[in-house]
Symmetry: C2
Subunit: 111 residues, 2 copies
């Protein structure tokens, strides 16, 4: 997992904020201008630009200047590595749980 | 998802660091003393305590003082809400993809 380390850091960091998760959910429905996002979340343009910047650095959002409007859309990253890390972690937890189950089973048989 | 907001913030924040993800992977294999973790990750006791503190606040790690040793183990939380959020997000992305596919299909039929 080492080569994904910096990507995981920035993506999980980006997800650690309710407004940024909200922006991703919103952009999942359709692309939006920065100003629309500011209105939707009731925060300043400066505030929303900061959040979009964090999401852009993490590769979860792309922005493009169209005339005087900056449009935001999802991608190019799609939380694939983050899903893989969490899935691997949960498989490990389940494995541990299975081994605990086997241990308890063996212990019971000895009684 | 609002009621899980603070939990998601702290859990995703906790995952946004390679040492903290490493500690979770390590504790998935077996419980460990703080001093063992410091040795395993080659960082100071103060440094490892800070990371374990973040994981403990997020509910991902529990610590218990046993004599002079502070033992760390996983839980009580297991990334269930984080998995659910990411899964919901990906379902939305796939739905969007399907809708795009349907749109392209319809467009093709019109040609």
């Amino acid at each position: 997992m080492v080569q994904y380390s910096a990507k995981l850091d920035s993506a999980f960091g980006a997800l650690a904020d309710p407004t940024r998760r909200g922006i991703l959910e919103r952009l999942g429905r359709s692309d939006a201008a920065i100003s629309d996002l500011a209105k939707a979340f009731g925060i300043t343009l400066t505030g929303i630009k900061k959040h979009v910047g964090v999401l852009e650095t993490a590769g979860l959002v792309t922005t493009e200047k169209v005339g005087r409007v900056r449009r935001c859309s999802l991608g190019p990253r799609r939380l694939d590595d983050e899903t893989a890390w969490i899935a691997a972690y949960r498989r490990m937890l389940e494995g541990r749980h299975d081994r605990l189950g086997e241990f308890l089973e063996r212990t019971r048989e000895k009684r």
